[in-house]
């Protein structure tokens, strides 16, 4: 019974913690412009994150060591540095976007200016990272994030023509859009679903919670049930935007616009529930990206790391996180729009993805670390298909960004 409850809690937190500012913004933008014609990318992205997270979770659980430690040992410091550079920079960009997301969510909740909320959000993130137990932190934000199910409820309450909605999922470039923008946003959606920090957080979390080979079933359940259900929330965001915003030719450029489908369907109560979800999703992701900054650098450098250690025993790990938070605040202090920052960060995530994905794929196939728990044939076949998709997305992202003026 305890095991079942543990799996249920893990799955629920995986669903609630699936969405971050990147998913909230990108799905709303895409739904308002392309309807549901890019739903297939969410499906491809969700399968990809399942493959990626399942491999890195298994590496951590079987070896008892975090991904970056093994990558450095297995591939050598020079190539691991390339991996670290890409991951760390994207992580910093994402962290800034997430803190901006918390600030916007608080502005939506209170009406007070977002720039006032940003430093408070960063301090709150630091306090939680410093003082709150890993499992408490993960479960509270994940469970509160479940309130984003209101997006699904809103779509049902909007009473769409379901058969027409289903036909809209056929991949086509809508009228008024170009093939370039369609593929640019396909890459953005893919990058939003496959953000590297999620994987590093997931695998480092496995070490934080002292997972072993015995916990592989729970890890699999969290990933294979939780993430696809989280993907349903992504599709619901796009569907709401396609039903309410697309007919009015509203292009989503701010998070306040993403609220309108929910307010149309469910009024102020639904909006209040949604805003709790926004705060939980962005704050949870801010915690994860902050921790991921510490994890990646500390694991690469061989420093003592982890929330399971007292801060004094992992001082460099904690200092890295404080510096990352200050960097995020510095980026936001320039006045950059967090939504635009998010749009760029998801595309850059896609660009950097091969550098984070390939090493994990190699390590997951190494019997020296994995013993008999190396990738099976099916995982490897899917893993190789995704390696190709990730490479194509990575190579095409910057040319498409320039040709389309970042999706204009």
């Amino acid at each position: 019974m305890k095991a079942v409850l543990g799996i249920a809690l893990g799955v629920l937190t995986a669903i609630g913690g699936f969405l971050d500012i990147g998913d909230l913004v990108t799905n709303a933008v895409v739904g308002a412009r392309f309807g549901l014609s890019l739903t297939w990318v969410v499906v491809v992205g969700v399968i990809g994150i399942c493959v990626f997270a399942q491999m890195s979770g298994r590496v951590a659980a079987v070896s008892g060591r975090a991904t970056f430690e093994i990558i450095r040992e297995r591939l050598g410091p020079r190539l691991a540095l390339a991996n670290l550079g890409a991951s760390f920079l994207i992580n910093l960009l994402t962290l800034a976007a997430e803190i901006g997301g918390v600030a916007i969510s608080m502005q939506l909740l209170t009406g007070a200016e977002r720039l006032l909320w940003a430093p408070l959000a960063a301090i709150a993130v630091w306090l939680v990272v410093w003082a709150v137990k890993f499992s408490v932190m993960e479960n509270v934000t994940g469970l509160l994030g479940l309130t984003l199910v209101v997006f699904v409820v809103a779509v049902v309450l909007l009473k769409p023509d379901w058969s027409m909605l289903a036909t809209e999922t056929v991949p086509t470039v809508p009228k008024g859009e170009t093939g370039g923008t369609y593929w640019y946003y396909a890459i953005a959606l893919f990058g939003a679903a496959l953000t590297p920090y999620e994987v590093f957080f997931f695998s480092s979390g496995a070490v934080e919670e002292h997972w072993s080979s015995k916990d592989l079933a729970q890890s699999r359940a969290n990933v294979l049930i939780g993430f696809p259900l989280g993907g349903v929330l992504s599709v619901a965001i796009a569907a709401g935007a396609a039903i309410v915003l697309l007919p009015k030719t509203i292009d989503v450029t701010s998070l306040s616009q993403a609220v309108l489908p929910v307010s149309t369907a469910g009024g102020t109560i639904a909006v209040a529930v949604l805003l709790v979800g926004f705060v939980a999703a962005t704050f949870g992701a801010a915690l994860e990206t902050t921790l991921s900054s510490g994890y990646t650098l500390a694991q690469f450098m061989g420093w003592s790391w982890g929330k399971f250690r007292r801060p004094a025993e992992a001082s460099r790990f904690h200092i890295t996180m404080i510096l990352a938070l200050l960097f995020g605040l510095g980026v936001l202090a320039t006045g950059v729009d967090p939504v635009q920052l998010t749009e760029f960060s998801v595309v850059f995530s896609a660009i950097a993805l091969p550098l984070t994905y390939l090493p994990v794929l190699i390590v997951a196939n190494d019997p020296e670390y994995m013993g008999d728990k190396v990738n099976g044939r099916l995982t490897n076949a899917v893993g190789m298909v995704y390696l190709v998709i990730i490479l194509v997305a990575s190579v095409a992202a910057i040319p498409l960004m320039i040709v389309t003026g970042a999706g204009q």
Partner: protein, 158 residues
């Protein structure tokens, strides 16, 4: 299948790095500029979106479906959006007399949009039951009536 030696893994990752770096370099070198018509079309599209958002938000606030925080944030965001569209249109450099005429009418319509959204923002802040929101909604409708033909004429600019 993927049991590769450290040397091969290094080579593989180096190739990935090279490919990504080459694509990035080529793309960064490929300069991209858009003409005045495209800028104007995008500005009009931006203004339509901002005006429609403000109208929807004001209607929903009047119906008691939107919280004050979301409404005030939405109006502030849309005002910035309309101002950005206006600045972009003012910055467009028309090459022909026809483009100059188009720019004048676009800039005038965008300025009217900015004022209409500011009006909606003020109206939303007034006490419930005030006639201001109804008047602001009419003004937004008039602005949209003015922007729509321009949008049809200029296209999406995408």
């Amino acid at each position: 299948m993927l049991r590769v030696s450290q040397g091969r893994a290094v080579l593989l990752l180096r190739r990935v790095l090279l490919t990504v770096a080459s694509a990035a370099t080529v793309a960064v070198l490929a300069a991209c500029s858009s003409g005045a018509s495209s800028t104007l079309a995008q500005s009009v599209g931006q203004a339509v979106s901002a005006a429609q958002t403000a109208r929807t938000a004001l209607e929903q606030q009047e119906d008691g479906r939107l919280t004050t925080g979301v409404a005030s944030t939405g109006f502030a965001d849309m005002l910035t959006e309309a101002e950005d569209a206006e600045s972009a249109a003012l910055g467009a450099a028309p090459a022909t007399a026809e483009e100059r005429r188009t720019r004048s009418s676009v800039v005038a319509a965008l300025h009217a949009t900015t004022l209409a959204i500011a009006d909606a923002q003020d109206a939303a802040a007034r006490a419930p039951g005030s006639p201001a929101p109804r008047s602001a909604l009419h003004r937004l409708a008039r602005v949209l009536h003015r922007l729509t033909p321009l949008q049809h004429r200029l296209g999406s600019g995408r």
